[in-house]
C-alpha cells in the first residue's frame, strides 16, 4: 500500500492570503521581490513529489499511523483522524494569528499504512524542506526518526510516546515531548492518593511491555510520595474488557482480588484490554485507578475551565467529534511552533529550535498556567488532570506540593534525578 500523503490546504480555506497581506509575508523570508505583492500562495494540494515550499510559508509535518477500523460495533472506537485533527485545528489557530504577524502555516500529513517505514516518511518530509515534525508513533520509531534526522535542523515533537527513557537515557536534543511521561502521569495520581490519604495500593500489571513500564513508573511514584504497594499481581485473564457482555464471567478473574489489604486498585493496561473489567468486580469494594477508572490525562471532554470550553467547541465544530488527549497533544505541538514564531516575530527554524527550551518561551494551552519545556530533558511541563469517565476529579500538582522552581516540577523527573545527557 502506498503511503498517503496529504498536503492539507488548511491555511487557505481561511482565506488568509488576500491581496494586501502578501507583501508582508516577505518579512522573514527570502521571497523574490517579484512575488512580493498581489499574489496569494497556491491553494492547490500538491502531488507528493513536488518539493517546492514557498519561502514565506511554514510547513509542519505530521507522521501518524491511523488505528485500523474496528471490526464490529465499538462505542469507543479510536477515530481515524485521532491526533491529526488536533494538529489541523492548531494550524488554523496559527494562521488566524498569522494574519496579523504575516505568517502562514500548512500541515503536511503522512498517514502510515500498516508497517510502512516511518523513517522513510520522515526523510521524505525533511527532504522537502520541512523543519518541524509532529510524530505520533511509539518510542522505537520516534527514536529512529530522531536519529535519522540528526543534524538536519529538524525539531521533532513527540505527541504520543510516554516512555520515560525518551526523557532519560534515550533523550535526543532534537526531540521535544508534549505528551506527559509515564512518571508525570503516575506522579499525578500518587499526589491525588496522598491528598485523599489512600496509602495502600494493589497493583495489577498487564502482559504487555508498556504495562510493565507503567507499573514501574507507578512504583517510583509510590516511593516518591510515600505510598505503599501492598499487593501486586499480573493480569492473566486476557482482554476481558473487550469481551462481549454475554461472555460468562470468569470466576478466577472475580476472585483474584480476594484476601488482599489495599485502599485502591491500580491497573496498568495501556492498551485498554482489561482495565475496565476491574471496577465493580473486586471482592472488596475498592475504587480503581491507573490506566482505567480514575486516570491522569492531558485532556477530557469534561474539561471546560481556563478557556478549554472554547477549544472543545472549536474542535467539535471542525471534526464532528469530541477532542481526545492525542488531539490536544498534537494541537499543543503545532501551537508551540506558532506561539514561538509570534514571540520571536519569525518562523525561522534556526531561531526557533533553540528557543523552545528557553525559559522565556511559554505556551498558553488551556491549563490556567503557561506551559514551558524543561531544558534538561525537553519535556513540556504541564498540569495533569485527574479524571473519571464522566467528571474531572482534581488537577495535579495538588495544593501543598511545592517546588523551588514551580509546582509543575513535582510531576515527573526533576533536574537532580535526570539521566538525560544531550549529545552535542
Amino acid at each position: 500500500m502506498p503511503t498517503h500523503i496529504l498536503l492539507a490546504p488548511l491555511a487557505l480555506s481561511l482565506g488568509l492570503c488576500g491581496p494586501g497581506l502578501d507583501a508582508a509575508f516577505a518579512q522573514d523570508s527570502t521571497q523574490p521581490p517579484g512575488q512580493a505583492s498581489g499574489q496569494a500562495p497556491s491553494t492547490e494540494a500538491r502531488p507528493a513529489a513536488a518539493p517546492a515550499i514557498h519561502p514565506s510559508e511554514t510547513h509542519i509535518g505530521m507522521i501518524y499511523r491511523p488505528e485500523p477500523a474496528p471490526s464490529s460495533y465499538d462505542a469507543e472506537a479510536v477515530p481515524e483522524d485521532e491526533g491529526v485533527a488536533g494538529a489541523r485545528m492548531a494550524i488554523k489557530d496559527n494562521n488566524n494569528t498569522g494574519r496579523f504577524t504575516k505568517q502562514t502555516y500548512l500541515l503536511d500529513e503522512i498517514a502510515l499504512d500498516g508497517d510502512k517505514d516511518a523513517v522513510a516518511a520522515a526523510r521524505d518530509l525533511a527532504g522537502r524542506g520541512i523543519r518541524y515534525l509532529i510524530v505520533a508513533l511509539p518510542a522505537g520509531e520516534l527514536l529512529a526518526i530522531a536519529d535519522a534526522l540528526k543534524g538536519q535542523g529538524v525539531t521533532i515533537f513527540n505527541v504520543a510516546a510516554p516512555d520515560d527513557r525518551l526523557r532519560g537515557a534515550d533523550c535526543r536534543r532534537n526531540v521535544f515531548h508534549v505528551v506527559p511521561s509515564r512518571a508525570m502521569q503516575t506522579d499525578a495520581l500518587a499526589q491525588f492518593f496522598t491528598l485523599m490519604r489512600w496509602r495502600k495500593m494493589f497493583l495489577i500489571v498487564g502482559p504487555q511491555e508498556n504495562d510493565r513500564l507503567y507499573a514501574e513508573a507507578f512504583k517510583k511514584a509510590a516511593r516518591k510520595f510515600n505510598l505503599k504497594i501492598s499487593a501486586e499481581k499480573p493480569w492473566t485473564f486476557g482482554p476481558l474488557a473487550k469481551a462481549r457482555g454475554d461472555t460468562p464471567t470468569r470466576s478466577e478473574a472475580m476472585v483474584f482480588t480476594r484476601g488482599l489489604d489495599y485502599d485502591i486498585a491500580v491497573v496498568a493496561d495501556e492498551a485498554g484490554d482489561w482495565g475496565d473489567y476491574v471496577p465493580f468486580r473486586t471482592v472488596d469494594p475498592r475504587p480503581v485507578a491507573g490506566t482505567q477508572g480514575l486516570i491522569a490525562s492531558t485532556w477530557h471532554p469534561t474539561l471546560e475551565t481556563w478557556g478549554a470550553a472554547q477549544a472543545q467547541n472549536r474542535f467539535r465544530r471542525q471534526s464532528g467529534r469530541l477532542m481526545r488527549p492525542l488531539d490536544y497533544q498534537a494541537w499543543a505541538a503545532v501551537r508551540s511552533v506558532g506561539e514561538a514564531a509570534t514571540q520571536k516575530k519569525t518562523a525561522d527554524p534556526a531561531v526557533l529550535a533553540p528557543y523552545f527550551a528557553d525559559p522565556a518561551f511559554s505556551l498558553p494551552a488551556y491549563k490556567g498556567v503557561s506551559l514551558t519545556y524543561r531544558p534538561w530533558d525537553h519535556q513540556l511541563r504541564q498540569p495533569i488532570i485527574v479524571v473519571q469517565p464522566k467528571a474531572m476529579v482534581s488537577v495535579a500538582p495538588e495544593q501543598g506540593f511545592t517546588h523551588q522552581r514551580t509546582p509543575l516540577d513535582t510531576l515527573g523527573t526533576d533536574l537532580p534525578e535526570t539521566t538525560c545527557k544531550f549529545a552535542e
Binding site: D93, N96, T97, R99, F100, T101, W306, G307, Q310, N313, R314, R317, E339, T342, Q343, S362, P364, G368, V369, S370, T406, P407, L408
Partner: protein, 343 residues
C-alpha cells in the same frame, strides 16, 4: 438622583420596583440615621450567572438581591443602555444578545450578535454595540435600534476583551489565543494595528483621558499598559502575593477611576483584587474577595466597586475610597459579568 424616587415620580412604576422602593427607602433612612452622612446614591447592579442562565439584580444600597431574571444560555457579558432602561446580555450559547426591559426584567427582544458573543461594549452614542464573538474570531458591530449587523471585523483566535476610547474612535479587542490587542478604527471598521501582549489577554480598559490602554493577561499574569498614540507597551505591571502561587495570579477585569489615580484589577483564582496607583503603577494593596474573581464594575459615582466571584457564587462589594471589602452577596451559579445602572 435616586432611581427609586424618579421611577415613582414618573408614575409608571411596576410592582417590583415599588417593593424595591419601599425597601430602599427604609434602608436609606436607616443609613442616614446611623452615619449622619449623605447616603450614597442607590443604583441597580446586574450580575450574569454563566451556569445559572440568569441575571441577579442587586440594589446597591440595601446590598440585597431584589430579583433574578431568566435569560438565554451561558450569559456572560452585560451592559446597560445609556438611559438604563435596557439591559444587554450576551447569551453565548444561544448566539444572541438578549435585551431586557429593566423595569420588568423581561427579555423584550434579541439581537443578532453572530456566534458565541462573550463581551461587548456600547458606543458613546448608545446605538452601536461592539461584540466579541469568541468562537468565531471576529468582532461584530450591531446597530441596537435597527438590530442590524453593521460590520464584521476579523480578529485573532478567541476574541474577548473590548475597550473603547473615550471619544469612541478606537475600539480595542483582545484575542485570548493570539495574544494581541487589535486596534480597530470605528469609522472604517478596519484593524489598524496589533500590539502583542502576554498570554491570554482578557480585558482592555482605556484611561479616561484616552491616552493609555490597560490590558490584562490572565495566563501571563501581567497588565500591559499601552501608549495609545504610539501603540507600544510602555509598562508591564506584575503581581506578587505572599502565600499565593504565582500561577494562581491571573489578572482579568480592570477598572480605572475617572480621575486616573487608582486602578483595580481582579486576580482570578488568587481571590484578590489588586489596588494600583495608576500614575506610578505601584501595586499598593490586595483586597481579599471571593473565589475566582473575574469582572469588575464601579457605580457611576465610583464610590463602590463590585466583583464577580465565579467559584464562590457571590459578588464582593468594595468601598473605593476606603479600599476595603465591605460585603459579599450570594448570587446565582458561576457569576461572570457585572454592570451597574447609570442612574
Amino acid at each position: 438622583m435616586n432611581r427609586g424616587f424618579r421611577a415613582g415620580a414618573s408614575g409608571t412604576m411596576p410592582g417590583l420596583a415599588k417593593q424595591g422602593l419601599a425597601m430602599l427607602g427604609l434602608a436609606m433612612l436607616a443609613g442616614t440615621a446611623l452615619t449622619g452622612a449623605t447616603p450614597a446614591q442607590a443604583y441597580t447592579v446586574y450580575v450574569t450567572n454563566e451556569k445559572g442562565n440568569s441575571v441577579s439584580v442587586i440594589d446597591s444600597e440595601s446590598m440585597a438581591v431584589t430579583a433574578t431574571w431568566k435569560v438565554g444560555r451561558r450569559p456572560r457579558g452585560v451592559t446597560t443602555s445609556k438611559d438604563g432602561k435596557e439591559l444587554f446580555v450576551c447569551a453565548s450559547d444561544d448566539d444572541r444578545i438578549d435585551v431586557l426591559d429593566t423595569s420588568t426584567g423581561k427579555v423584550v427582544r434579541s439581537l443578532r450578535s453572530g456566534p458565541d458573543p462573550e463581551q461587548f461594549i456600547l458606543g458613546p452614542q448608545g446605538n452601536l454595540l461592539y461584540v466579541a464573538n469568541e468562537d468565531d474570531s471576529q468582532v461584530t458591530v450591531i446597530d441596537v435600534e435597527k438590530n442590524k449587523v453593521m460590520a464584521e471585523v476579523p480578529v485573532g483566535v478567541e476574541p474577548e476583551g473590548m475597550g473603547l476610547s473615550p471619544d469612541g474612535k478606537i475600539l480595542v479587542n483582545t484575542s485570548e489565543t493570539t495574544n494581541m490587542a487589535h486596534f480597530i478604527d470605528t469609522t472604517t471598521f478596519a484593524v489598524i494595528d496589533n500590539v502583542l501582549v502576554d498570554a491570554r489577554p482578557r480585558f482592555a480598559e482605556f484611561t479616561a483621558d484616552g491616552k493609555l490602554l490597560w490590558v490584562s493577561a490572565e495566563v501571563g499574569g501581567t497588565i500591559s499598559v499601552i501608549d495609545v498614540a504610539a501603540r507600544r507597551v510602555i509598562k508591564k505591571i506584575t503581581f506578587k502575593i505572599p502565600s499565593v502561587n504565582d500561577e494562581a495570579i491571573q489578572p482579568v477585569g480592570i477598572r480605572i477611576t475617572k480621575d486616573g489615580t487608582k486602578a483595580f484589577v481582579a486576580l482570578g483564582p488568587a481571590n484578590r483584587i489588586a489596588v494600583i496607583d495608576a500614575k506610578t503603577y505601584a501595586v499598593e494593596k490586595y483586597l481579599p474577595v471571593g473565589q475566582r474573581v473575574w469582572q469588575l464594575a464601579f457605580t457611576p459615582d465610583q464610590k463602590l466597586l463590585f466583583s464577580t466571584n465565579g467559584s464562590s457564587n457571590d459578588i464582593s462589594v468594595v468601598d473605593v475610597a476606603a479600599e476595603k471589602v465591605i460585603k459579599s452577596i450570594p448570587v446565582g451559579l458561576l457569576p461572570w459579568g457585572v454592570a451597574v445602572s447609570p442612574n
